[in-house]
């Protein structure tokens, strides 16, 4: 097909998002909801196909839109941005289909007109970020993305949502401010320079300035990606948004931060060096560990997923940091492999996390609450849906043979093989990373099994779940597709790596396609087949050896007295050992109040249990900062004394000071 035609298809998908936003906004109150979501799904769908076409064509750059007076440099699509463009549009397309019925269910809570409009603008902003080639357009689209998602977080107009949204607004603007400052230094103030030109300017800057710029960008992108300690907004904001928006925010918006970080470090800045890479690794490991720990002990299904996103982004940033660290140690092959692993993980994460968030929407609809403690028993009521969720949860836990496992295999395989030849410092760093990644992997398993086990298995813990209906097709099919993609990405990992031009990490030859990591090869298809054949063999043998029909239903063994769902393990109880083992870190407050019922016997008592989950970063880092600011502003407020001459004097002093600094 013609390149110009495909490029215009991509432009069409951009304009399509804008058109849907516009028509949704001017239309009658939510009348065209269905039509607009279908249009949005179509325009993002063709965008995904066109992006895929670009990746397969093997070309390196497409010019999408040329207009020197709007953005300076043209909008372009490159290999890296095309990969993220495909991810974004695939997830956006499925989220739009999901939204058709999902939003209908909550018609009286959301203002459908603005919700649809903002969603389209949100997608448009993210598409724009990926195509930008100048600081001006990048920041413009970045702001469109941030502001629209800010409004989306408070779509249900609850107090908690508004608080979360404001918190998000502050954090995202601190981040955007850092990006602005960083670009300002890099471009000497002219925002219409292209990124290629910025790279040229960056080579002339002294290393200290470059390091400062790097820190600014790390904060800017890190706060968007939810890296600890800039993550506190994420578990508040992501769960409050409607589920298809949460899916977009967690599955794709976090990737925009990753994309921005890649663009900056790979194409603009010169190699960032050892110290900077170690900062990235430290932030990544910290995020992975804290994210997963709270994912284990949280009891709100969407907060569990939000914390799990922090963990996943932490792992991805660790891989990226290791890539730069390896680069600074002249381990070029490993550096390349680590970036490949990070991208593969990012692809896997986009699919499984969007699917899990959409699925969480179904769970919340069934239980009428986000608390896992009120769920349970969903697997019996929605067998197909629960199967898809099981696949997504196992993918998120990075178990073989699912998608995230391939990325972890490449990473750990390389890490271990580099160990023996490396210098003492490198060995120390690698051993630390290896053990922490293993610990995080183990705990991620715990978090995901808790989510699935408590949410779907056993008896329902509330009336609502008891009468829950199977989700509609338009809601469940996108989730099935995402579960399917998680499996497909796992088999096709070698092929996926070829498409994103990491040829040294795979050999693609039909069924003989292997993943390659430092000399070792793994065929993900064979691994899957071996596991399936082993399980199928057991299944068949059992049918030969015993009578399949010889079974009867009965209630669970109850020790002689009726068993109720109140006796089941809850999410709190299930994660209690981990909470206990890590109590030095989590500092959760557990209070058991015992009130004796019979005075003569203290054992007959009613007990009230309450557990407060606290976030130490919030308590020890953000609250003190807030306090300082409040105290300072109270002190400064004394200036406001109503004397107009005094105000004029202040303005004058401020002006003089600014001018002095500027000159």
């Amino acid at each position: 097909m013609d390149i110009n035609f495909m490029a215009s298809v991509i432009l069409f998908s951009l304009i399509g998002s804008l058109i849907s936003a516009f028509f949704s906004f001017v239309g009658k109150e939510g009348k065209q909801h269905k039509a607009i979501m279908i249009f949005l799904a179509l325009s993002t769908g063709v965008g995904a196909v066109a992006g895929m076409f670009f990746l397969l064509s093997g070309q390196t750059q497409w010019v999408i839109f040329q207009s020197s007076w709007i953005f300076g440099a043209p909008l372009i699509l490159q290999t890296l941005s095309a990969l993220f463009f495909v991810l974004l549009n695939t997830v956006a397309c499925l989220a739009s289909i999901y939204a058709i019925q999902y939003v209908e269910q909550y018609r009286n809570i959301y203002n459908v007109k603005t919700l649809d409009s903002l969603m389209a603008i949100f997608i448009f902003g993210m598409q724009g970020v990926l195509l930008s080639a100048t600081p001006f357009s990048f920041l413009l689209f970045w702001e469109i993305m941030s502001l629209s998602s800010f409004f989306l977080v408070m779509a249900d107009k609850e107090i908690a949502s508004i608080r979360a949204a404001l918190f998000y607004l502050i954090m995202t603007h601190l981040g955007a401010g850092a990006l602005l400052a960083g670009f300002m230094i890099l471009s000497n103030g002219s925002f219409l320079e292209s990124f290629t030109r910025l790279a040229f300017i960056a080579q002339q800057l002294p290393p200290q300035t470059l390091f400062g710029v790097f820190l600014l960008f790390l904060f800017g992108f890190g706060s968007k990606a939810g890296l600890v300690p800039f993550h506190v907004w994420l578990p508040e904001a992501h769960p409050q948004a409607p589920s298809h928006i949460s899916a977009l925010m967690s599955g794709v918006m976090l990737k925009m931060a990753l994309y921005g970080f890649f663009v900056l470090t790979l194409t603009i800045l010169p190699p960032i060096g050892m110290v900077a890479s170690m900062i990235v690794i430290a932030l990544g490991l910290l995020s992975a560990f804290f994210g997963v720990l709270y994912a284990v002990i949280e009891r709100d299904v969407k907060r569990v997923l939000a914390f799990s996103s922090i963990e996943n982004m932490g792992i991805i940033f660790t891989m990226v940091g290791v890539a730069f660290f390896a680069q600074s140690q002249n381990l070029i092959a490993f550096s390349h492999a680590a970036i490949g692993a990070a991208l593969l993980f990012a692809i896997a994460h986009a699919f499984f996390k969007s699917g899990l968030f959409m699925g969480a929407g179904v769970m919340v609809h069934a239980a009428h609450t986000r608390s896992l403690e009120a769920m349970g028993g969903l697997a019996k009521r929605m067998p197909l849906f629960s199967g898809a969720m099981l696949i997504l949860a196992l993918s998120a836990a990075a178990l073989p043979p699912f998608s995230a496992f391939a990325a972890e295999w490449i990473f750990i395989q390389n890490l271990v093989s580099e160990l023996s030849a490396a210098s003492l410092l490198v060995q120390g760093v690698f051993v630390l990373i290896l053990t922490l990644v293993a610990l995080v992997g183990g705990l991620a398993l715990f978090a995901m099994i808790k989510l699935f086990g408590i949410g779907f298995l056993g008896e329902p813990r509330s009336e609502h779940v008891e009468h829950a209906d199977v989700p509609g097709n338009l809601i469940s099919v996108p989730i099935y597709i995402l579960a399917g993609l998680s499996v497909v990405v796992a088999f096709c990992a070698p092929w996926v790596l070829r498409v994103i031009k990491f040829n040294d990490l795979s050999t693609a030859d039909g069924l003989q396609s292997n993943l390659i990591a430092s000399g070792a090869a793994l065929n993900p298809l064979y691994l899957f087949l071996a596991l399936v054949i082993a399980i199928a063999a057991v299944f068949v043998l059992r049918r030969f050896l015993s009578d399949v029909k010889n079974e009867r239903p009965y209630h669970t063994w109850d020790c002689g007295q009726p068993i109720t769902s109140g006796m089941e393990y809850t999410a709190t109880a299930f994660s209690s050992p981990i909470r206990f083992f890590f109590r030095m870190i989590t500092r959760s407050g557990k209070i058991v109040t015992v009130t004796p019922i019979v005075e003569t016997n203290t054992w007959i008592a009613s007990r009230v249990f309450s557990l407060e989950l606290r976030q130490i970063w919030y308590d020890w880092f953000y609250v003190p900062i807030t306090k300082i600011f409040l105290r300072a502003s109270t002190a400064i407020r004394r200036l406001q004394n109503g004397v107009i001459q005094f105000y004029i004097a202040l303005i004058f002093i401020a002006l003089v000071l600014t001018l002095t600094i500027a000159i």
Binding site: P383, A397, V431, S546, N550, E551, E568
Partner: protein, 311 residues
């Protein structure tokens, strides 16, 4: 073809001897405690009887409950196919990367956990929570232990690792083997982690999860745990005596290897029974100490291995 036959022999041998291993441990334990004990062949009869019995399926359960036994036993059989237990260089040895082994072990564990949660009783949930804790916290020790082997031998599949790991020439492996033994105790729910002989809620982990299973499903799960015990027994023995495995298809080599399997099983079973008779089970809420010690022993092994290379 050779590799195929070698793997076939290994599968038949391990699957055949597994119930015997469990029976043997029980018999040795009984003798050490002054009881006569049942015949070591009793588990074969138990499994055969269970296969014939009627199943009682709890009404609380869903489809997940019914796939658990197949996934658990299937993943265990996968391990038998890829690990060097009786022979080296089996057909699927190239799939035996240590990360895959750790992953498949975890896969079996999480399905067992889900089976426990399905019963909707406090027993199942308790066992599930405990097993999940052990499975997730043992992961760093597992990865570090195998990383040590990988560093010493330069290989990544367990098969190649064990062929190259000679404990006499690389003493850095001593802590790794010690860690492997601790991991084996945790993975198989033996003392001091779990008491396999009781049905008391204070102590049980594995038994609590399978409480609601009966008939053929219970047979599959019991068989899976027997195979897992055999796998770990042979792994620990093989890393100490790698020469006892067959690596070609000559009748003599196979016969010797099979003979050694029985000898190794008897010795390991006796050691396990002795260990379980002389130490007490740890409190569950002190389990992190056990796992942390296992991890640090493994880590010290890795550090020794790295030092011995750079020196």
């Amino acid at each position: 073809m050779n590799a195929f036959l070698l793997t076939g022999i290994q599968i038949v041998a391990v699957l055949g001897i597994s119930p015997f291993t469990v029976g043997l441990v029980r018999m040795f334990k009984a003798r050490l405690q002054g009881r006569h004990g049942a015949s070591p062949f009793l588990p074969y009869i138990t499994i055969a009887t269970l296969l014939k019995k009627q199943m009682v399926i709890s009404k609380s359960t869903s489809w997940v409950f019914k796939i658990v036994p197949f996934v658990v036993l299937g993943s265990t059989i996968f391990l038998v196919c890829v690990l060097p237990l009786v022979v080296f260089g089996g057909m699927f040895a190239s799939l035996g990367h240590f990360i895959i082994i750790a992953g498949v072990l975890a896969l079996g564990a999480v399905f067992l956990v889900m089976g426990g949660l399905e019963s909707a009783s406090a027993f199942g949930g308790m066992g599930a929570s405990r097993e999940m804790t052990l499975a997730s916290l043992v992961e760093p020790a597992v990865i570090t232990t195998f990383a040590t082997f990988a560093v010493v031998t330069g290989a990544f599949t367990i098969d190649a690792m064990f062929q190259g790991a000679h404990i006499l020439t690389s003493p850095a492996l001593v802590p790794a083997v010690a860690a492997l033994i601790m991991i084996a105790l945790a993975e198989n729910a033996r003392y001091p982690v779990d008491n396999p002989a009781t049905h008391l809620e204070l102590t049980m982990v594995h038994e609590a999860m399978v409480l609601e299973y009966s008939g053929p499903y219970l047979a599959l799960l019991e068989y899976a745990s027997a195979i897992k015990l055999t796998i770990f027994s042979l792994l620990v023995a093989n890393v100490l005596f790698p020469l006892t495995l067959a690596s070609n298809l000559s009748a003599a080599a196979i016969a010797i290897a099979l003979g050694f399997v029985v000898v190794k099983i008897v010795i390991v079973s006796f050691s396990l029974a002795l260990l379980e008779s002389v130490i007490a089970k740890m409190r569950f809420y002190r389990m992190h100490e056990f796992l942390t010690i296992a991890f640090f022993i493994a880590l010290s092994g890795l550090v020794f291995a790295l030092m011995s290379i750079s020196l």
